[in-house]
């Protein structure tokens, strides 16, 4: 069964880059959101086992989204993918329960490494 994942970024280009960076052989069902509000809806519907989340977004930014996921204990593993790479940004999202912080632009090597590190996919699978 494919793994339901969510890619949340206000930039369509960034979402495209993200999808391209995912391991080709990873069996996923991708949902997309362009802000935090849309993302929460998809997560609550159980369509996001893994969420790739941008920080700088209109309507609802990544920080707010993360804190809601955290406080409502929503069932998703969050990997922040951000252009904001300040040390403080990393600390903040980790504190808000993000599993990992990846700097943009994401590469397929980094995506694979992260997914394997956290046991989301097995090395042999891809």
């Amino acid at each position: 069964m494919p793994t339901p994942i969510l890619i949340c970024d206000d930039s369509a280009f960034a979402r495209k880059q993200m999808i391209r960076a995912l391991p080709k052989s990873w069996d996923v069902e991708v949902s997309q959101a362009s802000n935090g509000e849309e993302a929460l809806e998809i997560i609550r519907a159980g369509k996001a086992e893994v969420t790739f989340l941008d920080l700088t977004m209109p309507v609802m930014d990544g920080y707010e989204t993360l804190s809601i996921i955290h406080s409502e204990d929503l069932p998703t593993m969050v990997i922040v993918v951000s252009g904001d790479i300040q040390p403080e940004a990393m600390q903040r999202v980790k504190k808000l329960g993000a599993m990992e912080f990846i700097r943009k632009p994401i590469t397929s090597e980094k995506a694979k490494e992260t997914l394997v590190t956290y046991g989301i996919v097995q090395e042999g699978e891809i």
Binding site: F13, G83, D84, Q86, E88
Partner: protein, 205 residues
């Protein structure tokens, strides 16, 4: 100049926005380390701009605000433009405070703060942008456009008769402070077509 080159559709606008988002993030990271504070990042604004709109576009600034500004030309791979950094007067005490620097009142010291900030923000942002589209920009020496001037009076009508430019505007804010840094990247209309080609290449990859 072809009319096609001056077309900026939503897809391209989105891509420019994202490229600058990454580039400005790197610049902010360096400045944040230098100042030991957190810098709030906006969503960059991408527009095609007529020369008459240059002063108007600095939306975050009040017309009566006094600002100091630095501009720096850049070019590479037939792409050229100018980067502008504007600091409101309110920014200097904050900067001086964060850098632990004394004698905030003197003009020489302010100029030093202005140039250091420009070096970091313009240099890192251009480098980050260039790397993503796989080009290298050479930067000219930065030039002070003015200190403590009204925004309106800052841009004398340039002698070069440019009609339109691609403008990318980033407004950095220091957390818990009034200070704002306006960074404006302006690309000549001739550069837009080349930039778009570079981007097409990114899309095909």
């Amino acid at each position: 100049m072809t009319s096609q080159a001056l077309d900026l559709n939503e897809e391209y606008r989105d891509i420019y926005q994202e490229l600058v988002n990454v580039a400005m993030g790197r610049a902010a990271d360096l400045l944040a380390r230098l100042l030991d504070t957190y810098i709030i990042l906006p969503v960059p604004k991408v527009n095609l701009l007529a020369r008459t709109e240059l002063a108007m576009t600095l939306a975050a600034l009040d017309k009566n605000d006094r600002v100091s500004a630095v501009c720096q030309g850049f070019s590479g791979d037939r792409i050229s433009g100018e980067a502008l950094l504007l600091l409101t007067d309110a920014t200097f005490p904050d900067l001086a405070h964060l850098l632990g620097s004394e004698s905030t009142g003197s003009r020489g010291n302010e100029l030093e703060l202005l140039m250091d900030t420009a070096n970091v923000l313009i240099g890192a942002c251009l480098k980050g942008f260039a790397e993503q589209i796989d080009v290298e920009f050479a930067q000219s020496l930065p030039e002070v456009l003015g200190q403590h001037r009204k925004v309106d009076g800052l841009f004398d009508q340039p002698a070069i008769p440019w009609e339109q430019a691609l403008a990318i505007e980033v407004t950095y804010r220091l957390e818990n402070k009034e200070s704002t840094f306006e960074l404006l990247l302006l690309f000549t209309s001739e550069s837009i077509e080349i930039l778009n080609n570079k981007i097409n290449f990114l899309l095909e990859e």
